[in-house]
């Protein structure tokens, strides 16, 4: 009895049983059950690790494509922004100027906190400008923002993030935004800026209204006709959107890769822990059985 009790602390830890079983038979039954339980959990953790590993590989391959698209899209956005920088365009301030906040997230989760980071920034801006309207791209941020700022929402888009965003997507969204009945003095696009593989930062790019462009300091230098101005504005909006979408997509893939990498690592840790526990428990069961046999043999010899 003494020996079997000494071998039991490990068992009890595995079974997490607080009450000590009354008979030896019951103890054995309990350990067998936990052995099987541990085996089952080990198996399921292994499966989860396999899944997360595969998702990481998928995200890695998508990431290279997304990064390429991001670098290409950057030139679109930056070139079109150069015009406004050189013209020193500033957003119009004043009473009755409506702001539109555009959040460029995506439909898919499992990629850490990049969506909530953007939602947080959007909420912060909304606190300062409570009458601003909200357009959300992607289901994830939509779900988050519709709970807190549902009244500000005017449009939401879905179907983003299945693949690398195309310019056709951006143009179609920009069109739908220009069709909105309200005239916005400034459009702020919130997206995740790709700093490096592990860090992203939600930032804002501005898309300006016709008035704002017209009133910018150096606007005369470009000799833009009044009639072409709306076209320029629409096109600039599409360019900025495309940039934001592509960069956000790259961030998402990279974040997903990291999240899945961490998940695989955690699964690996858990597998190690459970493997050790499993081995210990098995060893303890064997020891217990040996003790039973020996004591039984000794008892029958004596008797």
């Amino acid at each position: 009895m003494m020996l079997s009790r000494a071998a039991r602390p490990a068992l009890r830890a595995g079974a997490a049983a607080t009450t000590r079983p009354a008979t030896l038979n019951a103890t054995n039954a309990a350990t067998y059950a936990t052995l099987r339980e541990i085996e089952g959990r080990l198996k399921s953790i292994r499966n989860i690790e396999k899944i997360t590993k595969t998702m990481k590989i998928v995200a890695s391959t998508k990431l290279t494509r997304a990064q390429k698209a991001m670098n290409e899209s950057r030139s679109y956005g930056q070139t079109s922004n150069t015009v406004f920088e050189k013209a020193e365009t500033k957003p119009l301030e004043g009473e009755g100027k409506k702001t539109l906040i555009l959040v460029a997230s995506s439909d898919k989760g499992l990629c850490g906190g990049i969506h909530s980071g953007m939602s947080r920034l959007a909420r912060r801006i909304l606190e300062q400008k409570p009458d601003a309207d909200l357009v959300v791209l992607g289901e994830k941020s939509k779900a988050q923002l519709s709970r807190s700022n549902g009244k500000n929402m005017v449009l939401s888009f879905a179907g983003i993030g299945k693949d690398v965003p195309t310019f056709a997507d951006a143009a179609a969204i920009a069109d739908q935004i220009t069709l909105l009945p309200t005239d916005y003095s400034s459009i702020q696009i919130i997206y995740n800026k790709f700093i490096n593989n592990t860090s992203y930062e939600p930032v804002v790019i501005e898309a300006f209204s016709e008035e704002a462009i017209k009133e910018s300091a150096n606007f005369a230098a470009f000799e833009i006709d009044d009639e072409i101005l709306p076209s320029l504005r629409e096109y600039a909006l599409a360019n900025s959107l495309y940039w934001a979408l592509a960069e956000g997509h790259a961030c998402e893939q990279s974040a997903r890769r990291n999240a899945m990498d961490n998940a695989s690592k955690n699964a690996g840790d858990m597998i190690n822990k459970f493997q050790i526990l499993f081995n210990r428990t098995r060893q303890a069961v064997i020891t217990g059985e040996l003790v039973e046999i020996i004591t039984g043999a000794a008892a029958s010899e004596e008797g």
Binding site: F157, G159, I160, K162, T166, A168, A172, D175, E227, A238
Partner: protein, 76 residues
Amino acid sequence: MAFAWKAAGLTYNRYVSVASRVVRRSLKEDKRIAAERRGESDLRFAKWENGKQGENKSLNTANEAAVADAAGHQSS
């Protein structure tokens, strides 16, 4: 300076996408398939009113309807 596409109620982005579609379709077969993929867009959108989400609609058909609507206004 008046543009024909503007008179027909197209936005500049719509005009550009139509033009790019034409260019893509006139490419050679192998290049065309790769290029047409860049022009694909399959988004859905919904209008919101007073914190309630409206109906989910396809973006492309909605845009085409808007263009047709604008064209109707222009001609009448």
